[in-house]
Symmetry: C2
Subunit: 475 residues, 2 copies
Amino acid sequence: FLIEMTHILTDYILKENDRASKVLDFHHPHQLREMMDHCLDIDENPRDLEQILSDCKETLKYCVKTGHPRFFNQLSTGLDIIGVTGEWLTAVSNTNMFTYEVAPVFTLMEEVILRRMRDLIGWQDGDGIMAPGGAISNFYGVLLARQKYLPQARLNGMFGCGEPVIFTSKQSHYSIKRAAILLGIGANNVIYVDCDHRGKMMVKDLEEKIASSKRNGKLPILVNCMAGTTVLGVYDPLEEIADVCKRNSIWLHVDGAWGGSVLLSRDHRHLLNGVERADSMTWNPHKMMGVPLQCSVILTKHKKLLAEANQSNADYLFQKDKNYDVTYDTGDKTIQCGRHNDIFKLWLMWRAKGDQGFEEQISKNFELAQYTLEKVQNRDGFHVILDKLEAPNVCFWYLPLKWRQQSPSDINAKELNKIAPQIKAQMMESGTMLVQYQPLGDLPNFFRVAISNPVITTRDIDFMIDEIDCIGRDL
Amino acid sequence: FLIEMTHILTDYILKENDRASKVLDFHHPHQLREMMDHCLDIDENPRDLEQILSDCKETLKYCVKTGHPRFFNQLSTGLDIIGVTGEWLTAVSNTNMFTYEVAPVFTLMEEVILRRMRDLIGWQDGDGIMAPGGAISNFYGVLLARQKYLPQARLNGMFGCGEPVIFTSKQSHYSIKRAAILLGIGANNVIYVDCDHRGKMMVKDLEEKIASSKRNGKLPILVNCMAGTTVLGVYDPLEEIADVCKRNSIWLHVDGAWGGSVLLSRDHRHLLNGVERADSMTWNPHKMMGVPLQCSVILTKHKKLLAEANQSNADYLFQKDKNYDVTYDTGDKTIQCGRHNDIFKLWLMWRAKGDQGFEEQISKNFELAQYTLEKVQNRDGFHVILDKLEAPNVCFWYLPLKWRQQSPSDINAKELNKIAPQIKAQMMESGTMLVQYQPLGDLPNFFRVAISNPVITTRDIDFMIDEIDCIGRDL
């Protein structure tokens, strides 16, 4: 059974890397349900191994091939074979990360990797933990700031304390707001700072808003700085923001979920100059480093704060009278109790590639993005949003033939808004490729190509541009 | 490489099922670091595939074999081969659960399974989502109650609103308190209800504490009811607690992380009589159902509340102008953004076993626990904490020969407290088995054997009892 399963999975991997295969075989939810009707439902009865193998084949048939060289849809793409086998071993060892007792090797690996990541940031000391995704890592960032400035909230709740406020740019990820909601700070206490035309936080506006919130009796506790925004992929001016935070004694969190990985690239790490001055940082190796989902980290410069924010000293799990150094029981620092092993695949990939391999991989993403940008700039009907890249995101409108004499800003926004969804709907029907679109502020829907899959070549980029043009020109 | 990796992993699985193999090869953190020194560190340089295979072998060598028939340490044990291959396919398909677009098949599977689970509870309608562990599922439970009673907290934070309080038994899991801390309610607003001698919540005390908190101007928003406590494995009196909640209009959350699975057992589901009256429920298939880590669910009777509590309408991800029914994009209901696929392994195992297979598996756990209880009751030196089981937890003190004339309550608690840790330290050194110990309230350290691994037989139980006796008799 295991052997046959391995064959099925290997076939899928081969097919995924075959450009002639579809990226997806799209069906609407109700259609897919009908098509899978014979194998979707569960009931009283057991199915034999043959049926299970056939269920697996059926499942893979309708999966979206996120590792396909023509899947450009998310910030996490690609399928690293070392990473996959890392997940396989993780599944077989099937343990919980909460104590050294049951995860001795993985605990040490987590220590090694988190220390390496802090080194790259430039922190001598500090702490960190793996989290189930970047949104939860950002949640930790806000929690740490709350713990520092309102430590009494742990015991007494947020009642009767001053109202904290947090600052983040209009183009930051929604998880900052969600963290404020969950942590009892409230969405209205998230103050959005204006961005310049490139999408970077305007430091002057930040300073004014901090001053104004202080005048209103609020307590500024955190500024979130984007290192690679989700859509445009730009970096907020970190050094200047760090100055503002220092002057005002505010926690500086860097959301590097997407763009934090440039710390591994000598060519690009300058984008994060000043990061050593931050208090905490989110970094998702499952994005630009191509580690299988999920693999996200929260790092902080402060050694004890994670434990202070979370500790509960559960007697049944974190006994002090164990026969080993219990500071290795990491579970008391987390918002989870049980915790999946997300470290092994990252550790294994890092062993296999070394810093060097990740550096090359990241450089290649940037080169391909630059290639894409230039292609798009020189092609009729394509209009880039930003003409200079900081991360491997290329964002552009596509204009059908009928509008070729106009620029996107002259076209009725409502009309332009419909183009990308129509093209994408056709992409999905034909299954040849997948590219994300979205609006941004006042800007109507545009495409975002994000490159994080090392198997993509210039041929795939050419194909993608031709395909959009071919689907869209006569709309 | 993939083939060789499969061989390494298969070998591990075989060894894990071999009773002659050690459960663990224990070393202290600093020792293990030295022993793995040649393969633990990462640096500039890539390692070749041969080295990677050797790294994997080394890793497995020092892993704790959580699927070994003599690993009794956690509530999650065992290694189901269908579940493992489910994880392998998950790794290969490597997608994110946030949208139907990239996870069409898995989205439908999540829908099928969550509906099945709600059916078992007895809810006609409702909602649910997979969470990264039971602690986060419980966090959702408290969040839902906060959303219902203090919906303004989403926008305004917890300032200026009445002080909510939540109630839970003294033997409940620490994640309830942690959720209150995180959500801005505060640890002091978690009111602990007394338990009777069996560890069940005393309903009279609950009523008094609710009344008293109301007199103090507080707003009771949630009662947490344990369905299988972590240590003793007992069920709070659900029907009576539901009555209290109804009379007082309080949200009823059932923490069935460990014991919720008895809903699949016709013999044991009466323990959860009245669960259909609850508002939300945590249920971890990675515990009693033996699904690989992590697999945890939060379910609620209320259809819209999960979305109301979490929605953020992120434009870049949850576009309304997609070409399919976007209610299938589940991401906007979660506290995460990206979300690991935890459903496929559960779905695959459920297909393979049917309700029937899980029922048998759960019954077997209970039978073995009953066998353990009787053995322990009839053996010199062993003293059970509870003489009637509700879940497959057996808790007992072991007394060395020198104390055999006394009962545990006559022995100096400080002295008795040292026995279990000493025995466990020796177990770990010898690596023959692993059993959890902990104190509980005033009770000094005792052992807890929790049975959730289907490969355990009565021989393993006999072995475990003999081994404890052998290690501990002369202490």
